[in-house]
């Protein structure tokens, strides 16, 4: 961390002066590590038209946190991870077995999760207010050990992506063709859902349930307007994710707004710009 602080001290911002505002410097490092994770996994969310699905996973994670809090765990995050893993596998299995339209099934699961979460949180006349922090999120509260967790997740995601990306994309392009070549699409897609579930759950308290899905969907959606192959797609998505993450965090310091929402606003503007750029070139 010392090395990082020394590095940031070189930046020409008032909060970057040596020894000051360590929380801001922690948040900056966290965003730099989080951005590639969201940018990368988001590409497949958009390929597979899973935006609604990843949104539902956030709701599942929220319920998990409420349950964890009720059960008296010190770290409700781990019970939330467990719950949202079960939740994501549940959606996949029900979808696979019933052949019902996936947005209907996701809608049902999602509404159930949110209702159950609110019901349990307010049971016995308790106030909901203490859960507000999960809705809006605060990256400024991040600790160095949590940044360590993000770094580990980033490495795991890159390894996962190296070995599984081709099969995921293949299954997304044509599942029957992929299966005819030995790709086990059901397990592959379930594993991907689980990866998204873990990511969304772990980062919810920093980014906020209300905007976390935009972190996944927007950079990839914007990159799609410009990219012509998968390399460009990933590169642009990660670049947009990094740029809006860093600039949004710094902007939120001066506007004194929630950083998650500020970052999403910047990404949304970038999306609009890329949309215009595409219209012009088409």
């Amino acid at each position: 961390m010392e090395l990082w602080y020394n590095l940031v001290d070189l930046l020409p911002f008032e909060w970057a002066e040596p020894g000051r505002m360590l929380f801001m410097k922690n948040a900056l490092l966290a965003i730099i590590l989080l951005a590639p994770i969201f940018g990368t996994l988001g590409t497949m969310i958009v390929n597979n038209q899973m935006a609604f699905f990843s949104d539902a996973l956030g709701h599942g994670a929220f319920t998990g946190i409420v349950i964890g809090g009720l059960a008296g765990f010190l770290q409700p995050m781990w019970s939330a991870v467990a719950f949202s893993l079960v939740f994501s596998v549940g959606i996949s299995v029900v979808h696979h077995k019933t052949r019902m339209s996936s947005d209907t099934i996701i809608g049902v699961f999602s509404s159930f999760a949110v209702a159950a979460g609110i019901f349990l949180a307010t049971l016995g006349g308790k106030s909901f207010a203490k859960l507000n922090s999960y809705l809006v999120g605060s990256i400024l509260s991040i600790t160095p050990s949590e940044i360590g967790i993000i770094a580990v997740i980033l490495v795991l995601v890159l390894i996962y992506w190296y070995f599984f990306f081709n099969r995921l994309l293949f299954a997304s392009i044509n599942p029957v063709l992929a299966r005819s070549r030995g790709v086990r699409t059901f397990w592959l897609e379930t594993l991907f859902s689980m990866a998204i579930a873990v990511l969304v759950t772990v980062s919810m308290s920093w980014i906020g349930l209300l905007v976390i899905n935009s972190f996944l969907v927007l950079p990839a959606a914007a990159a799609r307007n410009l990219a012509r192959n998968q390399r460009q797609y990933h590169l642009i998505a990660v670049a947009i994710s990094l740029f809006s993450g860093v600039s949004g965090l710094i902007a939120s310091y001066y506007t004194e707004t929630a950083s998650g929402a500020t970052i999403v606003l910047i990404t949304a503007v970038i999306f609009l710009l890329t949309l215009l750029a595409r219209r012009r070139s088409a």
Binding site: I173, L177, N229
Partner: protein, 254 residues
Amino acid sequence: MNHHGINVTRACEGPNCGLCCTRIENLGVTIGSDTILSDVNLHVHCGELTAIIGPNGAGKSTLLKAILGEVRHTGSLKFLRSSGVRKERPIIGYVPQHLNLDATSPTSVLDLYAVCCSKSPAWLRIPDKVRHKAKECLSRAQADHLLDKRLGALSGGELQRVLVALALEPVPELLLLDEPVSGIDQNGLEMFYNLLSDIRKDYDLSIIMVSHDLDLVARHADRLVLLNRTVLASGTPREVMASESFRKIFAGMS
């Protein structure tokens, strides 16, 4: 030995021919309470293009899916070697009717090759070796110039050729094609059928194709199977097109 028999014997001595004959016996597919196929019997020989024709909802695509193992079926599906010994599942090449891509998808033909036929992750730089192989593979279907095009920017005929090229790597023993109902112009179709004729001769493999163009099928297929929930007629195109069932189903269409 009649002409047909001689043909089959010669075909099975070919270098690529691990598979001699695909024998479908009493095959039936029921989904829920809906019987889609019943009592389907077919022999498909290598070196032959067998075209499956029939009205909409006849179960043509379902038959391909049953052979692929995608849908559960009754009856038996046997793959026999030239010696008559039963073979385990052969290498099956499959050309789907369409891809699940929206037109803006940032997936190039090279990306599709990489995910289909290589271990090199498509999101990283693709090594020149893989690129070279992709080009070689696509050239079998005269599609190598499409390497860097986006899949969404290809015409129906171009996409079809790319998919055929991919289905030939590795060279399959049985090639299944589900021809799109529309989206390919007449010129592209003609080219496509010529390509299939060449493949059949060059690689000596069995081709089963669901087809919608009776005119082209009559000229290029070795065998025709008229399917409507079961096999109504099968034989040479001339035989099948002269049959009573054919006239009933396609009356007024040609």
